[in-house]
Symmetry: C2
Subunit: 514 residues, 2 copies
């Protein structure tokens, strides 16, 4: 709608009929044409793919073109905001230990140094966090480690006494952000581990030494949370649950006052979270979608679209927070009044999928793509489906979407292993009518070990009830009812001591057995 | 056990600790060594992989070494057994139509000719069958097609008046089997479609023209059965079911007579099938495993291992037949007497997995790896598992194991589409105790089309009851009981008119509602 009459035609990436950018360019450009890009904005893999494709069509590729320098006169500079150390009491492993583990792993693959451009990997490795990216507590940086040196490349303006002390304590040198390019060229007699799918091409192109191309160990190390992190996220979930209780109680009374809109509700939810200890930020922009807006998967209310929330249908609220001790992400869909039988059935089918995935047990080595259908089966059986993934990895006071694991239709070779935090979020979207999604974060834990090997299960971390008023009891199995009652009992037990007596009473009712 | 003291060490392929043959050779051979193989016995992909690996270690590879010529003095020649045409009333599509479809598809990928070494693809393409391979009705041959010629390379001794007439009718020339190598060299100005994972390296190496490397269209065309084939397999399943009723009744009385052994049972089963119309052969060697032998997944009774079947525990019977109108494959595990609670629970858990997969509905585009866990979930939940695939494709009067689809843990990009015939065969094996497997062949069919797209389901083709005496009723859900009763009713309805009144009575009891 926004592009109408703009002269631009929208291609939605990833659809079967959408050509890749390079495939499209090669159909509209003549042989002998030149395509120019800013190589710092494309991964090495992406640029190599373009080059191989363009070569077949006689098209040249220039990778040092910086168009914004010419057309964006008042472009802000990179932020100077200082980064800060993430305390051991929250992250649970000091940077020296992490650097040792990483060096050991890259040596096993034949490298002796590591060059990193992935901001969350750098944040994890050096236990630093920043404020440069909305919702994702990272700082713009590059990093390099080998046996003798660890270097963080950041703007010097970001340094202050505190973060200098942090870097000194973990033996990390600081060099200017832009210095990484010359530094890369200066590396010789090093076998540098790089992840071509992540490293920007311009930096890769500066290297004159040999490389070992690999995913590298950090993604997996970062995904497997340690005991301190797990204890932290459990605490964060209690605070998040308290904020959610306050929010949904607030919502209830404000609907009746006619003062709750999608935007005011999202603001109020942020305010209740911000009162909580260790709160830093939201982990993404709240999706608060009333009825038909709930059917737009990544809906973000604008002043123009902002709906007044009334006593009819569903409200879908997908939100999360960054606490120093963990990152939360929860979706609840609540009944606002009398629901149609189809609405109740839809709500319950999605919940059956959520419960099936939450209850399942699976052997060591199982990949998310093997489990994705478990959450979809009740919907599929009714000819229904949702077109997003069922689960994504979640960082620890880091990105709310984090690899390497996922629970999706698409094959992903990463197995689900104990310590990983993943979302469980099946949904159903009836365009123009309503959307339903039920999302908890779950921790992969060891369930049992038998003669057939180790078996894992998911333990729910999120603490907030599902709306019982929307259930179609006729299609729930006894084991599904048991799961829901057990989960609700846990929610109540873990939250009650942090609530006022009125809130406690509200939660007792919301979590009472069905 | 057989290799003990032989001087050979067994490496089981595919296990995490087993090196590939080339990786192992490169650890035991010095640089400068030469490895010699017979290139007709390795795919192009395999040889190219070896070459790339050996190059790193300074090892040479010779591909024209034929060791058996030197050490196997009385080696039989390739069989002269004539092949025969597979009638249109069974295969449903004439070879001319198939050749046109295949040529159209390979042209879309830029080729203009096709060179084939895959025996079942050749059998499918030209509607010919043979007797050269046990259980798999194929003839040793190569094939080539382009817009102007279709050539079958077979030993001239295989020709007779009938198959000559068949070839003439479909416009296929015959050339001698060995002539394919010179023929390949003679091809020029052709872009030849080849599947490097299937074409033997020696033949590939003879090509002097350009190639298009692709899987090629035949695997998918062959997997999607036409209406004549589907009607045929339904008829074949009735005859197979009748033979199975006779066999299991025979078994019942012979156990009491003390005359039933694993081998005599398998022979008797073959005899009952051989009495059926259109029977050609078994589709594989019957696996008839009594108690602990049932826990050996590919058990084949020998005179030494041959067990007398008594009234205790389980008998696992996995068997199938080649009929002119279709290929069958069925496993039933029957109770021989009083079972322990664990035996009943195990039997029922495996059946719950079989039923879950059989009942499921899934959207267009779904791959087998997404559904595999559906069949395993009841076992996984108890810390149990089986280490084989859940389902394999099945040919039509062709190989009982046929690609390209599968239902396995491992990713396989092939979607399950209507017309495919696949096995549904979860199992459980307690080493030294007993094995359980429940296998039906199922047809993928369109279930419904909604605003969310097309949804498919599996329709059972196999017609024989599961042993109700082994059920643990306490863990069956009502929808599982309904499925079993519905399936049993269908089995009875489809078989009853082909049975004697005594057999009918036996089947009525075996299929009565639980």
């Amino acid at each position: 709608m926004q592009l109408a009459d703009s002269g631009f035609v929208l291609f939605k990436e990833g659809l079967p009929d959408t050509p890749s950018i390079e495939a499209w360019l090669s159909t509209v450009l003549p042989a002998g044409a030149t395509v120019a890009i800013d190589g710092t904005l494309f991964s090495t893999t992406a640029v190599e793919g373009m080059m191989a494709h363009f070569e077949k069509y006689g098209i040249s590729l220039i990778t040092d073109f910086t168009p914004f320098d010419k057309i964006w006169q008042d472009r802000p500079t990179l932020p100077d905001t200082p980064f800060f150390g993430h305390d051991l009491e929250y992250c649970g492993e000091n940077a020296t230990s992490k650097i040792m583990r990483v060096m050991k792993a890259i040596k096993e693959s034949g490298a002796d140094a590591l060059l990193l451009s992935t901001l969350d990997d750098i944040a994890w490795l050096f236990n630093i966090r920043g404020k440069d990216v909305n919702f994702n507590p990272m700082t713009y940086a590059y990093a390099y480690i080998d046996d003798n040196r660890s270097i963080l490349f950041v703007k010097s303006e970001k340094l202050n006494e505190e973060n200098k002390t942090h870097l000194r304590a973990i033996g990390v040198e600081q060099m200017p952000y832009e210095a990484v390019f010359d530094f890369a060229t200066s590396l010789c007699n090093k076998k540098v581990s790089i992840n071509p799918a992540k490293l920007n091409y311009t930096l890769y192109n500066k290297l004159r030494t040999t490389t070992v191309r690999e995913n590298g160990p950090i993604a997996m190390f970062k995904a497997i949370k340690n005991e301190v992190q797990i204890a932290g996220i459990r605490q964060a979930m209690v605070r998040d649950g308290v904020a959610l209780v306050r929010f949904f109680r607030w919502l209830d009374s404000n609907i009746d006052l006619g003062t709750a809109t999608e935007i005011s509700a999202a603001q109020q939810l942020r305010a209740f979270r911000a009162e909580q200890n260790l709160f830093v930020d939201e982990s993404f922009g709240t999706i608060c979608g009333y009825n038909e807006h709930g059917a737009i998967v990544h809906y973000s209310a604008t002043p123009e679209s902002n709906a007044l929330i009334r006593r009819k249908g569903f409200l879908l609220v997908d939100s999360g927070a960054q606490y120093l001790d963990g990152t939360t992400d929860i979706t609840r869909t609540i009944s606002l009044g009398t629901l149609t039988p189809q609405q109740k059935r839809d709500y319950t089918l999605v919940l059956k999928g959520h419960i099936a995935l939450s209850r399942c047990q699976f052997p060591e080595g199982t990949r998310g793509a093997q489990l994705d259908a478990i959450a979809r089966m009740p919907l599929w059986k009714d000819g229904l489906n949702y077109l997003h993934g069922t689960g994504h990895g979640v960082g620890h006071f880091l990105n709310v979407h984090e690899g390497p694991q996922s629970i999706r239709l698409q094959e992903n070779p990463t197995p689900l292993v104990p310590g990983m935090i993943t979302s469980n979020e099946p949904g159903l979207y009836r365009a123009g009518e309503y959307g339903i999604r039920h999302e908890n974060l779950v921790l992969t834990v060891l369930a049992q070990e038998t003669e057939f090997g180790k078996f894992y299960r998911f333990e729910p971390l999120t603490l907030f009830p599902f709306d019982k008023r929307a259930l179609d009891m006729t299609i729930l199995f006894p084991h599904e009812i048991s799961w829901l009652n057990d989960y609700h009992r846990m929610v109540y037990d873990r939250l009650k001591s942090s609530l006022t007596s009125e809130e406690c009473e509200w939660l007792r009712e919301a979590t009472s057995a069905i």
